[in-house]
Amino acid sequence: MELSGREFWTVLHGMVFGAGFLLAFAGGLAGLWSLRAGLVTVEGLRDRIMRLRAGLVAMATLAWLTVLTGNYIVYPWYRAKPPSGADLAEYPRSFLLSRPSTAEWHRFGMEWKEHVAWVAPILATTVAFIAIYYGPRLTADRKLRRTVVALFITAFAAAAVAGIFGAFLNKVAPIR
């Protein structure tokens, strides 16, 4: 049971940071959605807001760790140019582009993933800031709360697209 250094970073990027963000989404959404006066007591609100703030900050941190490790550690291995005569299996981007049957995985999958992933940390940070700044006041401002929920869902959708393509790409052309 061994992992190479590259495999370790790939797992940390996708399976720990990225998957952590995606898995935490349901809890965060439930917390934000139920911030309504009729659904929580004052005591419940105090307790919920504290957990929600901590959870949203943790999610924003996970989203940043995911894109930063992806962009600056894993992605350079993915896009490295092979020297002439090298085994293309060691160079995922070149490997995918070398065959028409796999080229779209790079041209569509990776090209979309590498850009859309950045939407998640930006919007997750916005949501965490608003939860910290307004706290229980979010129950009183319906429009702000709904906008925050919409941003949170958009952040999740962006992360999901990146995560799904990341999983497929690592299946078709793994980083070893």
Partner: protein
Amino acid sequence: MPDRSGPNPGRSVRGPSPEPEVVEAQLVDDLRRVRAEERSLEDKLLQIQSQELSLSHKPNGAGAAAVLAGGIGVFTIGFLTTLAAASVGVRNFLDWYSPAGPLSGKTTLGGIVWLVAWVSAHYLLRNKEVSFSRVTKALVVLLAVGLLLMFPPVFELFE
């Protein structure tokens, strides 16, 4: 004892039943009234809860600033993605960290624009009450255009 003899004991006398459209309109009216009452009660409950939590009012400007800046950040990354696809010069300019290529410049510049927009908007709007409907409309446009511009079939049109 009341006399319950007769062909239909206990049955009330009713007039002709109203048209379905009339019944539906009445039900819709009732539903609206109930929802309005529900909101009014929720507002009263909010006031009580706010007093219990000793909450002071915070203008929505800071929230609007964060939301708008988020939209601007996403739009900037999308815009730079398409611009880099369209121009070799821009692509080379955005190559700030060679192992990661132009993606490093697109995302770093996008992040800088996002933070500068956020800080500026925060200081401009933090003490103001703004129309959140307008903010939401601007956000939807920024997000939609930004996401579209980072979608490969769209930015490849400019290559």
